[in-house]
Amino acid sequence: MHELALCQALLRQVEAVAAEHNASSVSRILLRYGPLSGVEPHLLRQAYPLAAAGTPAEGAELVMEESPVRVRCRTCGVESEAVPNRLVCAACGDWHTDLVSGDELLLASLELDIPEDPAPE
């Protein structure tokens, strides 16, 4: 189980982006993950508050969007949905396919609270 380590890596990236934009806090974090990424969303959700305590992302809403598993067939060229343990072409049944999506683990976007510039004197 490596979800806590993943949360720590997530927070390092979130803090770097927040600092780059002079944000005071982070209100929303959008993660995209595929079923083949090896990440369990509910475990990540449980680990997140532990890792985020005391950081600018402490109160952030963590949103996780699952990417579909999709494959493209090398034999017939059709792109189709698949399930994690059966990555074969839905059209012709061939297993010579390439994964199009479903193994990603991405910090997709952040919503930051950025204080307005102080009014000029």
Partner: protein, 279 residues
């Protein structure tokens, strides 16, 4: 995984980064920032460094993965004995506790570093990097990284190796690839081990194990062997000789190789061959 060339952008996530550009101010004054970074990027950065370390010396690094008890250490012992005087071998061992496996390997006369992970269920690139500081690599052709026995987490971490070798022992059930798709999809070679026990088992069909592997769109060759009794070892040793020679040739051309399915590589099976500047 690559942070700069855009290979982590897929048809599934492209809509997040086109259109509004990097910054889009929302109505309530918050700022949405699209980031799109692989969350394992720190690990992957270290892994790339490890891989350069191996490549500079023309060393082939193999990640051995399986459930506990599939016979990884036994296979290493038999392999070391068979290749003695032909190929230089060093071993990095990962277990939660004990030096037992490293001691077994050292007893065969090759250097071995034990990483005791405590309660961590996998090795990561930083642990391998630390181990490399203590592993003499002069005269070494192949570094085996024996990952923690676990069919779940080890598949998620690039260690800086070149090939994934996954062992499936015949006492485990031939549907393991269907049950643990994240792990078996990453195989560059699947070894069916302990085949000397097949006559005593009525629920393991090597052909069924291979069918389950192919259903994961995995083209890895499948070899059957018994490290204790010998059958099948020659094919495995032949694969090792071929891979070690290919790695030496790549090294002379300044090229590298990633496992065919690396964590977070998003199905882009390109070779990631690139040149390193060496002094």
């Amino acid at each position: 995984m690559c942070d700069t060339c855009g290979c982590n952008i897929t048809p599934g996530n492209r809509h997040l980064i086109i259109g509004e550009g990097k910054l889009a101010r929302t109505e309530d004054g918050r700022t949405a920032v699209s980031v799109l970074q692989g969350l394992l990027s720190e690990n992957d950065h270290q892994a790339a460094h490890n891989r350069e370390h191996f490549d500079r010396r023309g060393i082939l690094a193999l990640n051995l993965m399986s459930s506990p008890g599939a016979g990884k250490t036994r296979l290493l012992e038999a392999t070391i004995d068979a290749l003695k005087g032909e190929l230089g071998i060093a071993v990095i061992e990962g277990d939660l506790e004990t030096e037992n496996d490293a001691e077994r390997v050292r007893a065969r006369g090759v250097p071995a570093i034990q990483i005791a992970t405590g309660s961590a269920c996998h090795l990561d690139a930083h642990m391998v990097h630390d181990a490399l500081h203590h592993l003499p690599l002069e005269g070494v052709d192949i570094v085996f990284i024996e990952n923690v026995g676990n069919l779940v987490c080890p598949a998620s971490f690039d260690l800086g190796h070149h090939r994934n070798v996954i062992l499936l022992s015949v006492v485990e059930g031939d549907d393991k690839p269907a049950k643990y798709p994240v792990m078996f999809r990453a195989a560059d070679l699947m070894l069916i081990t302990k085949t000397d026990l097949l006559p005593f088992l009525d629920d393991f069909e090597p052909a069924a194990a291979e069918r389950h592997l192919r259903a994961l769109a995995c083209e890895a060759p499948v070899l059957q062997l018994s490290a204790s009794k010998g059958p099948g070892m020659e094919e495995w040793l032949g694969w090792l000789r071929g891979e070690a020679a290919a790695q030496r040739e790549r090294a002379t051309r300044g090229e590298s190789l990633r496992p065919s399915v690396a964590p977070d590589a998003h199905g882009h099976d390109h070779d990631h061959a690139h040149h390193h500047a060496h002094p």
